[in-house]
């Protein structure tokens, strides 16, 4: 199962607009996508499609998160989420 560790760049962390954009992007893919704190190697990853779950992680700016994908276009989904987390807020193309 492909995995990645990414440092969260947006100032707000995984809250508010970045969290919204993250969840929206995750919902565009058909594969199973999960996210959690990177330091927590055995920690549970949560459903990246759930705003509730993603926000509850309490991920802040500069924290490292682990992304895992399983299923169709897993790498494409990871690319999209990684790009989102690596882009400072304001540069994201939010409509």
């Amino acid at each position: 199962m492909p995995e990645r560790v990414v440092t969260v760049v947006p100032e707000a962390g995984l809250h508010a607009r970045p969290a919204s954009a993250f969840v929206r992007t995750a919902n565009e893919y058909d594969c199973d996508l999960r996210v959690g704190a990177a330091e927590d190697a055995d920690g549970d990853l949560v459903d990246a499609r759930s705003m509730l779950a993603v926000t509850s992680l309490g991920v802040g700016h500069g924290d490292r998160v682990r992304l895992a994908a399983d299923g169709a276009d897993a790498d494409g989904a990871l690319d999209a989420l990684e790009e989102l987390l690596s882009t400072p807020e304001g540069n994201d193309e939010d409509q």
């Binding site: 809250h15 508010a16 607009r17 969290a19 919204s20 969840v23 929206r24 459903d47 499609r49 759930s50 705003m51 509730l52 779950a53 926000t55 509850s56 309490g58 939010d94």
Partner: protein, 565 residues
């Protein structure tokens, strides 16, 4: 049913009895037994409600984006995502399959999601509020309840709410509302200031317990800072018998003959009436923002002219001190392109905007003010908010002079208004002497001054104890300001000025004018009349030597009990 007493912070020393109306309504959920519930039909109802909620949210999102900006609109994105969140949706669908009606399943499903965020701090707590909003939207759609309309409440309503924002209170009909109580907020929260400006009984910051009170008769006792649910007859009788100091319409002097002006803080026409009724000598703070809030475009010069003329005409023998537009910070205005700032209270607000992006609005406002003054007997004084530099005051003053010259060139007789600087920033307090030599008066805005001197956000309850003007640092900033002036009058227009327990201290600190919510004018006038200015100065000197707020409050309590004996 027996009485239940909840404690909070009294916003006004007034009491009222009425029926509770929840601003965020609790929905009546129909009670149905399991065998009446058709799981398939309930799933369909849930799906329809979800779809309708989504459409509403998308519409509101578009409207917010157009009126306020993308950041506000993003809130609705989060709501849409919660609405369709698989981790919330699945338990709701499961509960429906297990025989629960859709509205009960929604309530329970959201309750457990809300519980995850509750008790967490800051942003997480905001998410709990988002979830409540989404839940209430679904419940409203499922139960066919109409949206709450704050402008159309039954007479004698006591409004309970989580919090009240400026746009909420702008809708409230003060004639119908007997009083209100809120879960959050302190003495300087918007809700508390609103209550004082309209002389409404109110208790704020009661906490979660308030949510447990519904469909009840309640007494709101602002004096004690209590809400009493299901009051017994004795409590009700007591509540209708609140004592008020007599209204004195004449100006007051201390017992030894020192004149102190007692003025009112007002924002809207209805408050001007309250100010004259309660015997204010004039207006010490006219907050002009209310003219600009809750509308699609700014009021034009003529509309402002009418409003200012009305205020000046109400005090033909008095002075009306108008604060020029003070926006930014916690007072967003949809049609202005206000920047998204990390620290709006330290950002572009007050005179900074008036001399910058809002210079055209500033000019229109000054023209309307000067025109109004030329047609009325009342004396106009203009003051600028959030001054931090001498140059800002001078630039503001120059604008007034330029516009006055323009008007005179058209043949209008315009007297020079008094022009003053607000002392709200530590910078202005340090520069009081330099400002005083250039200004006709200074006015200390203690809410902001306390916030900035103590570095404590006035809306943040976690630092609530820091937000108290009795801290020695704040008292010394006030004393420094008063001492720096020589012949220039100094007023005070924050909430501190209207606290009768501090009147003697303020007289002793040497303030020439105190401006407060109209509701406390009679009591403060009575206090001044009982005050001996020499004793007051001794009290102030002793207070200024204290190193701690506790030292100050103990001194004041001691003094008060000594006087009473």
């Amino acid at each position: 049913m027996s009485e239940r007493t909840l404690s909070g912070v009294g916003a006004t020393p007034l009491t009222a009895t009425g029926e509770v109306v929840w601003y965020r309504p609790d929905f009546e959920l129909p009670d149905r037994s399991a065998d009446e519930v058709d799981a398939r039909a309930e799933r369909e109802r849930f799906a329809v409600a979800q779809q309708l909620a989504r459409e509403e949210l998308e519409n509101e999102r578009a409207r917010a984006e157009e009126r306020i900006g993308a950041d506000e609109a993003a809130v609705f994105d989060a709501h849409i995502q919660f609405l369709e969140d698989p981790q919330i949706e699945q338990p709701i669908v499961d509960a429906i399959e297990n025989g629960l009606p859709a509205e009960h399943a929604v309530r329970d499903g959201y309750e457990s999601a809300i519980a995850q965020f509750e008790g967490m701090d800051g942003r997480m707590a905001d998410r709990a509020d988002d979830l409540r909003d989404v839940r209430d939207r679904l419940l409203r759609l499922l139960t066919g309840t109409d949206r709450m309309d704050l402008s159309d409440l039954p007479d004698g309503s006591v409004v309970f709410a989580e919090r009240l924002t400026p746009s909420d209170t702008a809708q409230l009909d003060p004639e119908a509302v007997a009083g209100f109580a809120t879960v959050t907020g302190g003495r300087t929260s918007h809700a508390a200031i609103f209550a004082r400006s309209l002389a409404l009984p109110a208790v704020v910051g009661i906490g979660d317990e308030l949510r447990e009170i519904e469909d009840s008769e309640v007494v709101v006792d602002g004096e004690a800072g209590e809400v009493i649910a299901d009051p017994d007859e004795r409590t009700c009788r007591k509540a209708t018998r609140t004592e008020q100091a007599d209204v004195r319409s004449e100006s007051v002097m201390t017992a030894d003959g020192e004149s102190i002006e007692v003025a009112a803080n007002v924002g809207r026409p209805v408050e001007i009436e309250g100010a004259t009724e309660r015997g204010a000598d004039g207006i010490g703070l006219y907050r002009t923002e209310f003219l600009f809030l809750d509308r699609e475009e700014p009021p034009d010069e003529d509309e402002q002219f009418e409003a200012y003329r009305e205020a000046l005409a109400a005090f033909p023998d008095g002075r009306v001190v108008v604060r020029t537009l003070d926006i930014g910070g916690d007072k967003p205005i949809p049609y202005l392109d206000l920047p998204d700032e990390d620290n709006p209270f330290l950002g572009e607000r007050g005179i900074r905007r008036s001399l910058g992006p809002d210079s055209a609005l500033f000019e229109t406002q000054l023209r309307a003010l000067l025109r109004a003054a030329s047609e009325t007997a009342g004396d106009l004084a203009i003051m600028f908010p959030l001054v931090a530099r001498v140059e800002e005051f001078e630039a503001g003053r120059e604008r007034v002079e330029e516009i006055r010259e323009d008007l005179r060139a058209t043949g209008m007789a315009v007297d020079a208004p008094e022009i003053g600087s607000m002392i709200e920033t530590p910078a202005a307090a340090f520069l009081a002497e330099d400002l005083a030599t250039r200004a006709d008066f200074l006015s200390i805005g203690t809410n902001d001054l306390t916030q900035y001197v103590m570095a404590a956000d006035r809306g943040n309850e976690r630092v609530g104890p820091l937000h108290d003007p009795r801290h020695p640092a704040v008292l010394r900033a006030i004393r420094h300001t008063v001492d720096a002036t020589d012949g220039t009058w100094v007023g005070m227009c924050g909430e501190m000025a209207g606290d009768p327990a501090l009147t003697e201290l303020l007289v002793g600190l040497g303030l020439d004018e105190l401006s407060m919510s109209a509701v406390t004018v009679p009591e403060v006038k009575a206090r001044i009349a009982d005050t001996d200015s020499t004793a007051a100065r001794t009290l102030a000197d002793r207070a200024l030597r204290k190193s701690t707020k506790r030292g100050v409050t103990e001194l004041l309590t001691e003094h008060e009990t000594g006087v009473d004996q």
